[in-house]
Amino acid sequence: MTLQVIAAIILALSLAYLYSNLAANLRAAGLNISFGFLNSSAGYDINQTLIDYNSQSSNLRAAVVGILNTLLVAFLACITATIFGVIAGVLRLSNNWLVRKLMAVYVEIFRNIPVLIWIIIIFTIMTAVMPSPRDFRGDTPASSMLFDLFAFTNRGVYVPGPYFTRGFGGGEGSALNWVLVIAVLVGSFFATRFLTARANRIQEATGVRPNTLWTNLAIWILPISIFCLIFGLTWDIPALKGFNFGGGIKIGGPLIALWFALSIYTGAFIAENVRAGIQAVSKGQTEAAAALGIRPRRVMSLVVLPQALRVIIPPLISQYLNITKNSSLAIAVGYADITATLGGITLNQTGRAIECVLLLMLFYLVISLTISAVMNVYNNAMKLKER
């Protein structure tokens, strides 16, 4: 009890000391704490935005652009890192000696070199090695587009962009079209879920499982293709216009560098998690499944993977958290994420260091706490049910 009182006094004293220092320093510098700067015009341009933005927009809007960019790169990197990690992790357990060693080298090299160096290396590839749009011109161009669809230039990668000629919102198209696309896909998802459940019921009742592969494929493919036909899906192919490419979707070099570097770096960590997860399933489980006469492929999907996932998912989610936090390195390559807009340019232009850094930390805290809340829910659901 006495110790707690002492701790409380020390805490209160040090907080008061820090606060008095802060107040004295702010008074000396003629500053005050105020968030009014968020509404004033930002005055700088951002080259890659997901929502409308120009240099007249407010600092708040610049911060929102940054938040969306952070979430975008984190989302993309989570998906690709998982793919890389699962492939490398499974291949590390392959019975092929060469592949096993190759994957071990991949994991060790990427885990032991700072992610910042990887980001810079890939950014350098994107800017210094890729051809400039000029090289695509002329009768015998120095570089050409991949399949006439993709252009890899030092200003970014241009990919065909889909749009609907007969959709809502006329030629420009509106977001409603894409909401409808997602709605159709979600519908297909639930339809296949229903079909699988029905197949399970029939199997329970009769012992014979109806073949669901073709109906499932049809449910996935048919509605979306009909939808696209009705709305007139067209691809906007990038093409050289003047000194640069026009049309299609431009993915900027910084985004690609950050995305790819985070993916391969985190992929190496995920590979180790996947390997540990699969190895954690005891061999007796595989043997017992084999003794029950289950075929090898179904042993993997019905026995080993469900148990391995319980081990793999928690570290996987914390790797996702790491990706989100490491995406703040965007500032090193000039990708306009929240750290670069709010914590970089806005901070330097307005001089509101304390407010900007606090908001920045708040954003990352909210993300982390959300993800750990999700993780706790998952862990409780997946916990071994013990009596």
Partner: protein, 432 residues
């Protein structure tokens, strides 16, 4: 019975046939290759693909590396010598070697000082890392921070001596009272050390010589890989004790202390290191007394130490949680108080379990020291991206420089993780 064969079989061999070697494809390298490289068709395809990938990588890099130039004085000269051939221009490493290691401001006639500090570092770390060595070597470890500080920053030798004296006074006071009350002894020790430091700083300002033995180097002149090493080593060694304290605080039954530790740990773990570095570079100065000027190096050390101590605290909490409850109860039943139980029974076991985790954090922290280049400190990455690539001589030698940086970090981090695996095997006292 013995004569039955004489009538039934025409020939019976009476000597043994010498053992034959196994068939070609069932032994030796052929068998190994059949089993490990070409067991099935799909696997054979995978092998061929892997060989092709290795060939692609090696054929692109090996000629580039072995054709490299080491002695030219600029990239233009490299290009002239190579005449369009693709090969490395490693001369940037030889020419800028000192800048890469020590930064571009550290006085060049004093490079021996950080080099000596590096050599002494191995002496100081040896008894910590390999505990078969005689325990007396630990004295070197205790003295090392003060010697290294003096070597790298220079200035009067009195400063580190009085710092050491302060610690000694604190320790004497602590050990005098620890038998009676741990908390009292600890706070008494801290207070005594504070008093000793205060008196020491007065004495130093009075009698410090005009021209010290080693010329003082301001910490903004530090740079290069030296800066990474210094940040990594300082922050790890400071954050382990802090992490232990935080972990114990989080386990504590006192709600206030537990609450402080939980908020601190969760806050730090929830934000990226870069935002903490922003705090160090633009915000922390507001929280110091207006007349104090705390240099950037110290501010960065404070923030990185806080960062890694939160992670280390979580690792150690895992170790504490992994101990069976019987250990705590056994300590209680022996009549040990909290401090004794922790020091003699709980922590030695919990720390042993946490060592791999702590080493992982240390490796991650060492890699993260490169982030200081974002707040314009010239560490290895900062040197490469700043002064070296911006200079007219070497504008455009990306791969040699980045490859060198990657190699340095790889060697150190891989070494540390191999050491940790060795240590884990060494410490495995169960299941033998």
């Amino acid at each position: 019975m013995s004569d039955t064969h004489e009538h039934s079989v025409a020939f019976v061999r009476t000597t043994e046939i010498p053992q034959q070697p196994a068939p070609m494809n069932a032994a030796g390298p052929v068998k190994w290759m059949r089993e490990n490289l070409f067991p099935t068709w799909a696997n054979a395809l995978l092998t061929v693909a892997a060989i092709y990938v290795i060939y692609l990588i090696l054929s692109a890099t090996l000629p580039w590396i072995f054709g490299g130039l080491w002695t030219t004085s600029s990239l233009a000269e490299c290009r002239e010598v190579l005449q369009g051939k693709s090969a490395a221009c490693f001369s940037v490493l030889t020419e800028r070697w000192n800048q890469l290691l020590f930064g571009f401001k550290y006085p060049s006639d004093m490079y021996w000082r950080p080099t000596l500090a590096l050599v002494l570092m191995f002496v100081a770390l040896a008894p910590v890392l390999f505990f078969d060595l005689p325990r007396k070597l630990l004295i070197a470890t205790i003295l090392y921070p003060f010697i290294a500080y003096w070597l790298i920053w220079g200035g009067t030798v009195l400063t580190p001596i009085f710092a050491l004296v302060g610690f000694a006074v604190g320790y004497v006071v602590y050990s005098r009272f620890v038998a009676r009350n741990f908390a009292l002894a600890l706070s008494g020790g801290v207070a005594a050390a504070m008093v000793a430091w205060y008196i020491g700083s007065l004495i130093v300002s009075l009698i410090a010589p005009e021209t010290p033995l080693l010329e003082a180097v301001p910490s903004r002149d530090l740079g290069g890989f030296m800066l990474n090493m210094m940040l990594g080593l300082t922050c790890v060694s400071l954050s382990v004790p802090l992490g232990i304290a935080l972990a114990l605080g989080r386990q504590s039954s006192m709600p206030l202390i537990k609450w402080i530790c939980v908020v601190f740990i969760e806050f730090i773990r929830g934000v990226p290191l870069i935002t903490l570095l922003f705090v160090a570079s633009v915000m922390l100065a507001y929280f110091f007394p207006p007349e104090a000027t705390v240099d950037l190096f110290l501010r960065v050390v404070i923030m990185i130490t806080m960062f890694s101590s939160a992670y280390i605290a979580e690792v150690i909490r895992g170790g504490l949680a992994a101990l069976p409850k019987g250990q705590y109860e056994a300590a209680d039943s022996l009549g040990l108080d909290y401090a004794q139980a922790m020091r003699l029974i709980i922590l030695p076991q919990a720390l042993k379990i946490s060592i791999p985790g702590i080493v992982n954090i240390a490796v991650g922290l060492f890699k993260d020291t490169t982030l200081v280049s974002v707040i314009s400190m010239f560490d290895l990455v900062g040197m490469i991206r700043g002064p070296i690539l911006a200079s007219t001589d070497w504008n455009g030698v990306y791969w040699e420089l980045l490859g060198f940086a990657a190699l340095l970090f790889f060697v150190v981090c891989y070494g540390i993780s191999q050491y940790s695996q060795w240590l884990e095997r060494r410490l495995a006292t169960d299941h033998r």
